[in-house]
């Protein structure tokens, strides 16, 4: 694999999105490099295969329903997409789908509420500290993120993309740094909910370990990182500049501390 240096440019090369001089230089390189020649031809094929799919055809009648709801909206009658469009669709095309998913959603909310209240009661009855409950919640959020299709909502290794993304979504600004060079690449960020409160989550990677760093605002003074363990996972918490950070991962505790020191 001698030609890693150009692999990431070949896609833009195919799209003719590189500046002219770079394009020419790369074309000359490709001509001399069997690795890049193969990759370019593979990428071109992949491109064509996807382009060949064409657009997903619209469901029958959607065009008309779209026109109708727009006309209704411009008549000044209350423009609500749901009653008209949903009923039209549920009778015509996909009966019950919407209702089923709405029910599922409600059921899920109920389950969540029950779980929360059960947890709260449990914590109260056993006198277990609030910290334990918080740790449990943080660990759940971490596990949850591992089961999702993607643990990130804003995917970027660029701290200047991730940090502004949180602006307006949470009431604080977390410290974001890409530590790829140190072996902790930043994958991105997302919003999560811990104990009913919206928190920011930064997602880093260390080899194959995923690290969630949850962050939320606090009035408490700065503290040094403290490590706790729960169900085989490490939780490292510290407070800095009015923001509480808790890193959760199955990564080794020392490596987790190392990450906290660099942030």
């Amino acid at each position: 694999m001698p030609c890693d240096r150009h692999a990431h440019l070949l896609s833009a090369y195919l799209d003719r999105e590189l500046p002219d001089d770079e394009h020419e230089a790369l074309a000359r390189h490709i001509a001399d490099c069997p690795d890049c020649t193969t990759l370019v031809s593979d990428l071109r094929q992949t491109s064509r295969a996807v382009a060949g799919l064409g657009r997903e055809p619209m469901p029958e009648g959607l065009s008309q329903r779209l026109r109708q709801s727009l006309e209704q909206a411009s008549d000044g009658s209350p423009p609500s997409p749901s009653p008209q469009s949903v009923s039209a669709r549920s009778t015509a095309i996909v009966p019950r789908h919407w209702t089923a998913s709405a029910l599922m959603r409600q059921a899920a909310v109920l389950v969540f509420a029950c779980l929360l209240s059960a947890l709260a009661t449990w914590g109260f009855v056993t006198g277990s500290a609030r910290d334990t409950l918080l740790a449990r919640d943080l660990l759940s959020a971490h596990l949850r993120s591992l089961q999702q299709e993607s643990p990130i909502q804003v995917a970027s290794s660029d701290a200047h993309t991730v940090k502004p993304w949180f602006a307006g979504k949470v009431d604080f600004s977390p410290e974001v740094r890409d530590l790829a060079a140190q072996g902790y690449p930043l994958l991105g960020g997302r919003l999560d909910t811990i104990a009913g409160r919206r928190v920011g989550a930064l997602v880093y990677k260390r080899r194959l370990h995923l690290i969630n760093i949850f962050a939320w605002a606090s009035d408490a003074p700065d503290t040094a990182p403290t490590l706790t363990m729960r169900n085989g996972y490490n939780l490292l918490s510290w407070i800095r500049g009015g923001v509480v950070y808790t890193a959760v991962s199955d990564l080794d505790g020392d490596e987790l501390k190392h990450l906290a020191e660099m942030l």
Partner: protein, 186 residues
């Protein structure tokens, strides 16, 4: 028959592209239909604020936002189920319905064949959303990096790297899928 408004004249020609984009973000025709309806109404109401030459990036950004809201709702639902699963130590069935198999035969089917077509669809559906959306906007809609960056609210450089990574992932997935088929044949 009422005279179509300026918004309708500009936006309706893009309804097919809008539906296709929503479908590829959500992997569900039913959800995509809801999202397109919602997005067009939102766009209609916000149309006064539209200043520009090309309505497409503006409209697609609204479609994309609506699709992400649906995805987030879905994820919230999934989170609750997986939280439950986490406590009981089993895998939650959190997947959204993936109706990715192509519906009827189309003109392209004659060219690449339904089986291969379904492989490509599956591989695309399995790409992480951030990569899938740039791939769809580029390969299926043929948009420029600049337009894609406007729609996805990211830097052109980010579009470039996501597209590159997305294609490499797709290439690997397709090689794996077709490779599997070959071993079957042997």
């Amino acid at each position: 028959m009422p005279i179509p408004s300026r918004f309708e004249q500009l936006a309706l020609p893009h309804q097919e592209a809008a539906f296709s984009l929503a479908f590829w973000l959500l992997s569900s025709r039913a959800d995509a239909e809801d999202v397109v309806q919602e997005a067009f109404l939102r766009a209609f109401r916000a149309f006064d604020g539209f200043r520009g030459e090309d309505i497409r990036p503006w409209l697609f950004a609204i479609v994309r936002n609506a699709a992400y809201r649906t995805l987030n709702n879905r994820q919230r639902t999934a989170n609750v189920i997986s939280l439950d699963a986490a406590f009981h130590g089993r895998e939650g069935d959190t997947g959204a319905p993936l109706d990715i198999a192509a519906e009827g035969p189309s003109a392209e089917d004659a060219l690449i064949g339904k089986a291969e077509r379904d492989l490509v669809r599956l591989a695309l559906a399995e790409l992480p959303t951030a990569f899938r959306e740039v791939v769809v906007l580029r390969e299926i809609e043929g948009l420029s990096y600049r337009e894609i960056s406007e729609i996805t609210d990211t830097a052109v450089g980010t579009v470039m790297s996501r597209l590159s990574r997305g294609r490499l992932l797709l290439r690997r997935a397709l090689a794996r899928k077709t490779g599997k088929d070959c071993s079957h044949a042997l």
